[in-house]
């Protein structure tokens, strides 16, 4: 299996993520089973991938949240009323927000994305300080609850589509550094996102035929994930740190990196992209000692 290592997919996908989605089609055309792997929390990914490609997207958080293969409908404001219906709802503002109020007291502020799906619900205290931010998955379920204390994020809870707690994350004083990641079932714990990702890759994905890494913040994974071939997708510049045994992939030839293979996945003609990948990918029969050529 080939894997494309990505962070997140959302409604503001850049050309990099859009190219990664298109790459799924390319690999399908050349007979390479491939999966796009999401390693960051991605509650909107289902909005950005065609229905017929959705089986080709796997994600760390979907796996933990037992949401793999889940297909639900978006949650609308009318649907949210089932939870917040005791309160008055203001009309949708230009900023795509609505407020739920109890008289003059703000209870929660809701952000709605284009298309009408509820994205976030922020609950506030008496002085309107943020206490909790709930994130809804585009498939219509409450997916993550973030809790705030004195303006700092202190912990998060990740839920299954059925609403059961699957993972909780405690943060350190800066609200960013992770102190503890606890999986509920099975009971496991980690102290960094990197350790969690490594365990996921090792336990759930295994050795790859080809790996393509589009973002530099996952080059460490590209280097450590057992694979027959590794590709480091570059955008406009050469990487600051090369990944051993990884083939650099560039949009166009780079004088500073003559070894880079050129495939323009962003603007290139479709057939040329297919041919480009066909040329660089090693087929099963061609594999030798398991190393890149």
């Amino acid at each position: 299996m080939d894997y494309f290592i990505e962070g997140t997919l959302n409604i503001n996908n850049t050309v990099i993520e859009k190219a990664a989605i298109k790459r799924l089609e390319v690999f399908q055309k050349i007979g390479r089973p491939a999966r796009l792997v999401l390693l960051e929390y991605s509650p909107q990914w289902a909005l950005t991938v065609n229905q017929d490609q959705q089986d080709s997207v796997v994600g760390l958080f979907d796996h933990i949240q037992k949401a793999e293969g889940f297909t639900g409908q978006k949650l609308t404001l009318n649907g949210l009323d089932a939870r917040l219906g005791y309160y008055d709802r203001t009309p949708l503002s230009k900023a795509r927000t609505v407020d739920y109020t109890d008289g003059d007291r703000l209870v929660a502020r809701v952000h709605v994305i284009p298309g009408g799906a509820v994205d976030t619900v922020t609950y506030v205290g008496a002085a309107e300080q943020t206490l909790e931010t709930d994130r809804y998955d585009a498939r219509g379920f409450l997916s993550r609850r973030q809790f705030w204390y004195g303006g700092r994020r202190t912990h998060e809870e990740y839920l299954s589509p059925a609403g059961t707690l699957q993972m909780e994350v405690s943060f350190n004083d800066d609200g960013k550094e992770i102190g503890l990641i606890r999986l509920i079932e099975p009971d496991q714990h980690f102290f960094s996102m990197r350790a969690l990702i490594e365990a996921y890759v090792q336990q759930e994905l295994g050795e790859a035929s080809a790996l393509v890494c589009d973002r530099r913040n996952y080059d460490w994974l590209l280097a450590s994930w057992p694979a027959q071939q590794r590709f480091q997708r570059l955008y406009n510049s050469a990487p600051t740190a090369a990944v051993p045994e990884a083939v650099p992939l560039a949009r166009k030839s780079m004088p500073t990196l003559p070894a880079a293979v050129v495939i323009d996945e962003y603007r290139g003609e479709a057939q040329r992209v297919v041919d480009g990948w066909r040329q660089v990918l090693v087929s099963e029969g061609e594999r030798g000692d398991g190393r890149n050529r």
Binding site: Y123, Q129, L180
Partner: protein, 507 residues
Amino acid sequence: MFYFIGNVFRSEITGIESAQLKRMHLFNEFNEPAKIVSTGRTDDQTASARKFGLNEENYINEFDFLCEVPFAYAKRVTLDSLGFAARHRISYHDDHITRYADGQQLFAQVAVDDRGQVEKVRYYDDHNRCRIEEEYDPRGFLAVRAYRDAGLKLTSQVYLTPQGKERLRFLYTQQPTLRLASVQVTRRDGRAIALQGIYDLHRYFFDELNKTTPHNVFIVDRTRRNEWGIENMKTRAFRLFHMHSVHAVNLVADPASRDLNFNYRQPLNNLDQWNGAIVLTDQQMADVKLNFPAAKLIKVPAVVIPPERLSAPRVPLAARIPGKIIVVARIDRLKRLKELVQIVKLIHDRQSNVTLDIWGLTRDKQYREELLALIAQLHLEEVVKLPGFTRDLSAAYDHAQLSILTSRMEGTILALAEAQSHGVPVVSYDFKYGPREFIIPGQNGEIVPIDDRRAAAAQALRMLGSKQVWEHYSTGCYAESPRYSADQVFTYWQTVKDKAAAFYQGK
């Protein structure tokens, strides 16, 4: 339905909870539906309630109600059932604590009780700081999950059903100071309610409870915790607060004192939010009326002498311990027990067989130490004993000859009427309220001015020193006790019931 609103039961109870229990028995006797309702939560509240004879039929706790916990829920949760040992190394183990680690890193610590039932599970971060603590209800389910920040400050708590569904979430803030910022209720139907703190939660609970039965009467026995919630209920209910104690301080010197007892300040200042208040004696009613002429007051004695007590054989002097004085009072500065010891010293100086037993739980440990020091100073170690708390005082009363009360104030003093029902005459300071309700001077006891130790000692010596005198007073005690029989006291409650009925009929 009558709801008697109080605090959670602990292993030892005070006079207010005792009054609630007796009232419950009274209502049961007259087939009048009633339940004791407690707000708040403690680990042992169900076991304690059970110890005092409460059950799912007559007791409701706020957190059990909101988290759908059956009173009788029982399940074993043990180290084995948690299953940590299959995935983690045991790094420490004794009878109560087991720690699990992965490599050298502490993963979790589990505490169990003497039965092996899991009490707490703590999860640690990479700096061995407990960031998540799970508290198990003794009945066998994960009840509360608490989260702490890196500085170990409590940031939130989640209260769960036995099936693991979230029902309450307490969110804390440190702006401007550490406090509860919000309580989120997740109802069974999935709806969320954002409450503004613990009192708002009590209010929500009372409203939800009020929906479960029609035409309810809320009798608030513990006002401080519950007054705001009752006053701000959004559903229609008949609401009374019960003044178990004096409504103001310094009433002896100034019956019109406006220095209100903090327990009743809120309801007395918001009388329009209540359908009235229950007072215990005529004297209390008169004093409250001095400052609150518009208050709707209903007198209901807190004392009920059970029929088995009224029909019990009278205990003659010969069957009692000569010179035995009994006092039933918690060890608390308010009870002024040092004053009592000084009086006993005066009596003992004249009658050497006198002994005093002070029965009651210790509320104020420092005061207990002071009391013991005084007893030692007066060389009364063999005379004055503090046996502690017991649920059944019948034998103690039946062995006693006399009781002495030295308070400066009480709401009503149950122990006074209880002593009299056992044929024990009472010598009491003239405090508010109780002595003038229960003591008929010359018949079943004597009232002396507050702080007049010599007068109290003289009356005690008079009763203890003459068989004829003692028998006169003891007979008077037995004879007057039926004034507080169940039939008599329930007629007062019938008045409350009639007023509630009129309220619901819109009269």
